[in-house]
Symmetry: C2
Subunit: 299 residues, 2 copies
């Protein structure tokens, strides 16, 4: 079944201690859509300016992504520039030029409104609400977020938590949102805010699912070389919802399997700048790495 993904489409300029790349295809929706596209048909909702390079459209198309929901508006595409420290764990935003993204109002083409699986990738919670308002009874809604929205749009985010099935967030966001230092205690409190399923991303330390069936501890794929972690979390969420949309049976085993796929697609994402590595990966390579990860984590 198909997945609707809304989020940011951006041009990313990324600096690491060793390299620098400018105006790569990025944004939460781009990473999530390419990742989800390995598993299920994807409908993209986003906005770009008239400066958006045609080769990026080609990349989306090669991944079978439906672009009827991608608005092209006069002006400049959202541009983000950031720099990573030596250990890749801290990044600093150097520039945020919103461009056409500033006046983005997601409008869903009629054919999108019945999409059964929805990923509200990282974007202002008000826009995530706006997309949900246009959907007709989706089967499963997952939302991602970031610390920025906890700081400047907390009320919108709290209202959103009542409308979604699953929230994806990282461990520091889980602590901030719950006012709890312990992640396990945080999970218990966050369920009280609405979501039936919570997925906490811990980067190289894996991820945790919390749901009615208990907890699932998902390992990260161990990497020797992290080239650029930008978009790893979006790739994780995209592969997770894509894999879920492509699976039968009960939700929770589907989420567990999806997290394993998410870990692996995120690991490929980290091995190249922007989407350069992910865009070249095959489904066979993903499956092979999932098999390796299963073997490494078999108890």
């Amino acid at each position: 079944m198909s997945v609707l993904i809304v989020g940011s489409v951006a041009l990313d300029s990324i600096k690491t201690p060793k390299h620098e790349h400018n105006r790569l295809l990025g944004g939460s929706a781009s990473h999530a859509a390419v990742a989800a596209g390995f598993f299920a048909p994807v409908k993209l909702v986003g906005i770009v300016g008239d400066d958006f390079p045609r080769r990026h459209i080609g990349l989306y198309r090669r991944h079978g992504i439906d672009l009827d929901g991608l608005q092209v508006s006069p002006g400049k595409t959202f541009h983000w520039a950031g720099e990573y420290e030596l250990n890749m764990n801290h990044r600093r935003t150097l520039k945020t030029e919103l461009g056409v993204f500033e006046r983005f109002q997601p409008v869903l083409p009629p054919a999108y409104q019945n999409t059964p699986y929805v990923l509200l990738a990282n974007i202002a919670p008000a826009l995530q609400h706006h997309v949900l308002d246009q959907m007709r009874r989706p089967r499963f809604v997952m939302a991602d977020t970031m610390d920025l929205w906890l700081n400047i749009a907390l009320d919108d985010l709290l209202r959103l938590l009542q409308r979604i099935d699953a929230l994806v967030l990282n461990d520091s966001e889980a602590r901030q949102l719950s006012h709890e230092d312990n992640v396990i205690t945080a999970l218990r409190k966050l369920h009280g805010l609405g979501p039936k399923y919570l997925i906490v991303k811990k980067g190289e330390h894996g991820s945790i699912l919390s749901g009615p069936g208990g907890m699932f501890l998902c390992p990260a794929f161990p990497l020797e070389r992290v080239c650029d972690p930008t978009g790893a979390g979006d790739s994780f969420a995209g592969a997770l919802i894509g894999s879920l949309a492509n699976s039968r049976g009960p939700i929770e085993p589907g989420l567990r399997r999806g997290m394993l796929y998410g870990s692996v697609v995120a690991s490929f994402c980290c091995e190249g700048f922007g989407l350069t590595r992910t865009a070249k990966v095959t489904r066979e390579q993903i499956d092979a790495r999932v098999a390796t990860l299963r073997k490494m984590a078999a108890l």
Copy 2:
């Protein structure tokens, strides 16, 4: 089969943001021996002063620990005092009174010299060597260490790595010893220093085994309340070698299973001050928590 454990026996005074306890039974050998005792007969090698409380001897005995190798010497027992910060991830040493430990020369009773499994728990590498010198062809030797020895006894430690089968260390020690920031790269370099098996402890993020059969990613048992993490690493190593000594078949599956037991015994250790919680746990409670952990990490 039985396990010989050498290490420190100490009285620990521990301060956390909420509580303070003085002169609890502690030290690497105490934690490791009690943990190993759940799985196999343990022979303890260590030193205490004539002030060592009799109730601690009783605790060892209740765990079936052979104390023929525990020297009682005129003077004071090693006393360590430390304080934990709010998040329990950082601790500060407030006091180190070596007492009789300063002139410790481990002497193995003849009946100890044929013990098939050996854990050189955290102690000066020169003393770890001294114990190995007295052993007759042990089947499996595992050593633990700490950053202190990397700083002040690196040559002794490097020589030790040539004489052991497995090294247990935490992630920051693995980075320091290998001069590599990436733990996976660090593992590869550390094998070059000698040990066939490396086990990297990452606290709440689990542990990694690296051996000829590849990597094993072992989850930590998720805890809501960490009371006192002192001795968790020693408990992990003790349960690991105890479980290994108690298992048949090839080494690597035994190490994997042992790490799972190690994670669980370490989780109990964190739930009480010093050995208070671990000493009250039953083998049935350990097995039940292992079953829960297996369920939470099943792929």
